[in-house]
Assembly symmetry: C2
Homo-oligomer: 492 residues x 2
């Protein structure tokens, strides 16, 4: 099936909207009645899928409403000739607890492969800075990035271990709060004299890769949080952030959740069904779709991302703190572009081109069925492009990454910045949003629970955080409704 989401470009066919994906569900709805549900889940990303799966398994009758024509939210794969291009969230690791629990539970712990293959080809790292262009070995790449990042995070003489000993509790050490008031730029200014020019270039590129923002609008604390989650080492960042992906693509994984929920017989769903409003009352909740349909339930789990929550009208209005958080929003406008190139030797390539290019960081990510090398490229809000608006500019940005980056056979991407149901990529906090509003973002609103990776406490912004949040919200709803009369119970 083909989703409306995403774009592909080839020299022969030019730019085309929509790409095939295993995440498109047919038929788009199975709703047969307008009876009151136990639970409405809004959004079929990993958070909503997890909540739906857990709640249906626990005996609740669930209505899942999704604005898109597919599952997966900000993590989905297109499937072109059997080859998965990851349009958003991609990499997972066994040190990410919630997603790994699901990978294990679905028997998929051997379904992963490494993005990196340094066994053949150029096997080098290219660094294009403002003033020089050099290549070096991947070992030297690792040493350069480790050295720079260790200086960047070393606010406590222990590479962050003392300031954030428990990464799921970012303010465990109260002294960490000062770092939430700082941007990455503020921290770079503090250590300006300690970094070599190459360290500076690569640290800037790496933190922009993480945030998708600008150096000035990304919270330094949130980067420390990522670093702490990764075990306080660059090797941990490599392992946990950018190495292991599903051989069959994210959408193949997301289908397990949907199918398991479906098999309970307690799942109603409707795709291409964006909401206009959510009403909370003392007896339950109702939602009204943009098309004017109304559904009622005892509870809602709303998994709409922070940057999109403002497009839904809440009655009564949301609490002031949550409204303020929505008004601030997160800063991630990551540009992710897949490029197929003919040069087979580039499979073992990686590179950084910064600060003059619109794509900053890229790696060889696979070999396509045509035998081409698949390169995945990242840009950020700093030096931002809308990839489909000027495809020549996008091609130029890919070609600027390395001299070998020629003969582009295909581009595949999803423009998350212009996606009305995402308004950005994964959450990345600006300064002070976490200290001021993390609790607000997590707070419920009567019978409406809010669950999203954007305000997870552990791997916030990751698939793991989405599952963490969906798990939490479903457990809360199930616990409440099990004690309410008249709620359906499983009868097996």
């Amino acid at each position: 099936m083909t989703s409306r989401d995403g774009f592909s470009w080839t020299p022969q066919e030019g730019l085309k909207p929509g790409v095939p994906s295993l995440g498109v569900i047919q038929p788009p709805t199975n709703i047969t009645s307008t009876a009151k549900y136990d639970l409405i889940v809004v959004g079929a990303g990993y958070c909503g899928l997890t909540a739906t799966r857990d709640a249906t398994l626990a005996g609740l009758n669930v209505l899942l409403l999704e604005a898109r024509d597919r599952i997966g939210g900000r993590s989905w794969s297109s499937n072109i000739g059997g080859y998965p291009f990851e349009m958003g969230g991609t990499w997972v690791h066994w040190h990410q607890p919630h997603v790994w629990r699901e990978i294990s539970r679905y028997g998929l712990s051997t379904a992963l492969e490494s993005s990196f293959d340094f066994s053949r080809g150029v096997n080098h790292f290219r660094l294009n800075s403002a003033t020089s262009s050099t290549t070096r070995s991947h070992d030297d790449e690792d040493k350069l990035l480790a050295s720079g990042l260790e200086k960047f995070v070393n606010v406590d003489g222990a590479h962050g271990r003392n300031i954030m000993p428990q990464p799921h509790d970012i303010f465990h050490n109260e002294q960490s709060r000062v770092f939430d008031s700082m941007s990455a730029q503020d921290r770079l200014d503090q250590i300006a004299n300690d970094l070599t020019p190459d360290e500076r270039t690569t640290v800037e590129a790496f933190v922009l890769l993480c945030s998708g923002g600008t150096l000035s609008n990304m919270s330094f604390l949130e980067f420390l949080h990522w670093w702490a989650l990764c075990g306080f080492t660059y090797q941990g960042c490599l392992d946990m952030l950018i190495t292991y992906k599903f051989r069959q693509g994210q959408s193949s994984f997301a289908r397990h959740f949907f199918q398991e929920a479906s098999k309970t017989g307690r799942l109603s769903y409707s795709f291409s069904t964006p909401l206009a409003s959510i009403e909370n009352s003392s007896t339950g909740v109702s939602v009204t779709t943009r098309a004017g349909a109304t559904f009622t339930a005892s509870r809602i789990i709303c998994t709409v991302p922070l940057n999109v929550l403002g497009t839904i009208r809440f009655d009564p209005p949301l609490a002031k703190g949550k409204q303020e958080a929505i008004g601030i929003g997160h800063v991630n406008q990551c540009v992710k572009v897949h490029a197929e190139i003919k040069n087979k030797d580039m499979r073992s390539w990686s590179g950084i081109t910064h600060p003059h290019n619109k794509l900053v960081y890229a790696i060889g990510d696979g070999t396509t069925p045509s035998g081409n090398t698949h390169i995945v490229c990242f840009g950020a809000a700093q030096n931002h492009i809308q990839a489909e608006e000027d495809i020549e500019q996008t091609i130029n940005a890919v070609e600027a990454l390395a001299p070998e980056m020629r003969d582009i056979q295909r581009l595949v991407f999803h423009n998350w910045a212009k996606d009305e149901f995402a308004k950005g990529a994964w959450f990345f906090s600006p300064p002070r949003l976490l200290a001021d509003h993390l609790d607000d973002m997590r707070a419920r609103h009567g019978n409406v629970l809010f669950a999203n990776s954007d305000w997870a406490v552990g791997w916030r912004s990751f698939i793991d955080g989405a599952i963490e949040e969906g798990t939490r919200a479903a457990a809360e709803v199930v616990s409440e409704l099990l004690n309410e009369p008249g709620v359906a119970r499983p009868n097996l």
Copy 2:
């Protein structure tokens, strides 16, 4: 409540069997009928508790049978004056996916504390070898252990990364099989000329701490597996194996699982109910208790440890491969002894005394309500003691750890070696058991599923592995027993 399990000793009262624990459940049974259950779960350790919780939440009527008078199996805490002494499995970490998913789901991610507190007192590491006794800083302790262990695991020039890239799939690289035929002693012999005497002493002590076996009967591959799970660094081993514990003790955590299952109204249970036999038939299963009671169900999840499975009669008999694995068994005869001493400064102490002492490795683990320092001490099958049989010998072994180890106010321990329902501590594989029989141990027997941390694929031997296995088995049973009503289904 007081469990029959465990021992305490004080100068005033001498040796007493049984210690108080939050894990003792009252009343000991709630069985009111002998109707056929959907599922019988045998064993109320974390594996059985997880399976019971998941299955009751999914609507199954479950009978939980436990031989002991308490939940928790090989992981439970005594509670003496409000202070938890961990009698078995203790430490957890956010990189252990299954246990962390549960910690997060129960809202306990801020309920942990570090065993280590180097903020005051002696703040040193003592190394008593056969020929010398020295103290050094904890930083130097870490450097010594890191250096020795890196040599120990460096079979591939990459500290094990190449030989075991995916630790939940130990034979992912087929070349790893050769290391399962080797013991720790075999590997030590290979690198005998590379280790300094202090490295050798500490490496031996550390791997005995992990295995609870002897250097000759523990699989080198299984140690590589632990190392890989810990991110291929000694720092990772410290973080993930021996740092974070529950402020309120393991039994406080285990109660969440039991209580959640209980609240569904679908949990029947009986403690102090060891089994004599398990019978499988085409229509279901039945169990007969040692007391002669019989219960029937559609499925059984048997969570009895490998070393105990041979005490239960199976009809029809178990498959040959599983019988062989049971005949081999695992090698862990860990001796874990808690000692309260008056010296407050020892809170920041750690030490290794090897190879001449019956307790090999110990750390300051807390401060008790009386203001005493709590030291936790470990011995192994090598130089083994039965701690309660000769309490003077046990006291001597504690005192031999350091000159400051005087004025012992209390000992607390569980003799796992003589426990008929454990026959050892956490699983540790002898050479070749994993290569020959891991699949056999995991295989089902008709309607009997076997689930235990002993044969988990990830954090095998850990609480995490127990939850991994309970999750897997419950999902399998629920999926099989799920009644699929004829509703509109998506076309997947």
